[in-house]
Amino acid sequence: MSNIDKTTADLLDIVTDVDGKAFDPEKFAGAFNIRSNCTSLGRKSTENIKIETKTDNPGLDIRIAPGTKGEDVYIPACVTKAGIDDLVYNDFFVGEGADVTIIAGCGIHTETGEEARHSGIHRFFCGKNSRVLYLEKHVGTGNSAAKKVIDPQTEVFLEEGAYLEIDTSQLGGVCRSDRKTRGTVGKNATLVIKERLLTDGDDVATTDFEIEMNGEGGGINLMSRSVAQGDSYQKYHSSIIGNAMCTGHSECDAILSDNGKVDAIPQLIANCKDASLIHEAAIGKIAGEQILKLRTLGLTEEEAEKAIIDGFLK
């Protein structure tokens, strides 16, 4: 696509890279919309996946037909200029029995010291027995003094037997992020959330999950891994509310480096005696013996730390 400049292309490479394969709009067979600086640089719908502009708010309605199998949807967003405050509402309507992968993500690049912001408000309406893998990466690049803010808000509604896996990561360079996830899980539906966060400098990141388990046989597995470096601060709150016979597991692991700080506040609420909820949490610095082991393999202390953090956030 000739209207994609190099900065946008570089950001797309980072946020939409899946298994080492960068997104190529010329060759891509699925549906896509590429958003940059509040406008669409390109869009394609397919027979089964329709992407339409919202009429009430900025953003998209993405309608995935029932029974759609193996198709991908790419909807990355980039901000490449300072002073932009991009707000977008994307709603995903996933038809019964569909099985798709959605690749989103946001990159902000600024050269000046001005603030740039992207707020993505995504709602997932997952139909009966549908299956969705949602991949999302966030990154900030360019002038490290510029404030880059990404505030993703996600709402999920899982009907009977639906499966939604959200794999989200903040790769670094994002100064402020306020991540909110809300949702309800229906009968025999499953929600899996894998979150990875890297903060450095004076970055601040807050994460807040609140999921209601309303359907019998529903399940949630919530895994958060984070690394707080420099003088950064992270606050994690998760609340799993079991209103029916269900299973819930949340796991929060954080590595502290330099003067990094993490608050973790996990919460389990069982409103039904057949709700089975578990939480695990661990916060600490990199174990000295891990560094030592890698050093005995010839890595320097810095290389060892990087390998441990890269692996932890992988």
Binding site: R225, D253, A287, E289, Q290, L292, K293, L294, R295, T296, L297, G298, L299, T300, E301, A307, I308, G311, F312, L313, K314
Partner: protein, 242 residues
């Protein structure tokens, strides 16, 4: 060749190593054995640079490596398999083997090294080096990392722990192959008879000092001697059971 000269280590006012002198020649498999708490693992850590000696010298091929840190020692040619392997959240077996080899291994190379330690590559290569592996499995990964290093001096601290009989046979073969290269020295800390029986030399470390030492088969026979009266070693071939 590795030379250890009058190595001493004191911690919390307790003398743990009391002047160890050893020469580990190339192409030899040396077994360090002796009672628990005698100083074997401490000695291994000193050689690997994981702990610093209070005094004494360690020379590798005539070069003093005493002040080298663990990274420098690894680059100089020391490999060390920890007695208690470390677990890593998020690092896969494949990642760990690549880190050990210092390159991206081929599928064939991964399969080969895992087979040496008795693991099926397809089942293990993408598993995490964390709580998803049992004690015995992670021990084998630990050993594999050192086999990949092609170290001048490869140290294995109780490699037998948690390893089943079939895998153990593979491991013995892997040690023998390493020895056959002739330019590698192997130091294996062990209480296991099979390992002691293949050692070129056995060195008893007890109370922070070198005790009985000598050719493998001679010392091995003495260690097997049931005569309580010859606790210091009867000195007879095959022991004094005759």
């Amino acid at each position: 060749m590795l030379e250890i000269k009058d190595l001493r280590f004191t911690a919390d006012g307790r003398e743990i190593l009391k002047g160890i002198n050893l020469v580990i020649p190339e192409g030899k498999l040396i077994a360090l054995t002796g009672p628990n708490g005698g100083g074997k693992t401490t000695l291994a850590k000193m050689i690997a640079g994981v702990e610093k000696p209070t005094s004494g010298q360690i020379l590798l091929d005539g070069v003093d490596i005493t002040d080298m840190n663990p990274t420098e020692r690894a680059k100089a040619g020391i490999g060390y398999a920890f007695q208690q392997p470390v677990r890593f959240k998020g690092i896969s077996v494949r990642d760990m083997l690549n880190l050990a080899a210092g390159k991206t291994l081929t599928e064939e190379e991964i399969k080969d090294v895992l087979l040496q330690v008795g693991l099926e590559a397809d089942e293990y290569k993408d598993r995490g080096v964390d709580t998803h592996l049992s004690g015995g499995e992670i021990k084998r990964i630990e050993i594999a990392t050192v086999l990949l290093r092609n170290a001048k001096v490869a140290l294995f601290d109780e490699p037998e722990a948690g390893i089943d009989l079939w895998s153990f046979n593979n491991l013995i073969r892997a040690f023998e192959v390493l020895r056959e290269k002739r330019d590698n020295s192997l130091i294996i800390i062990s209480h296991q008879e099979r390992i002691l029986s293949i050692a070129d030399e056995i060195v008893m470390i007890q109370d922070g000092q070198v005790g009985m030492r000598g050719e493998g088969h001679t010392i091995f026979s003495r260690l097997l001697c049931k005569n309580e009266g010859c606790a210091d070693g009867c000195g007879k071939e095959g022991g004094c059971r005759e």
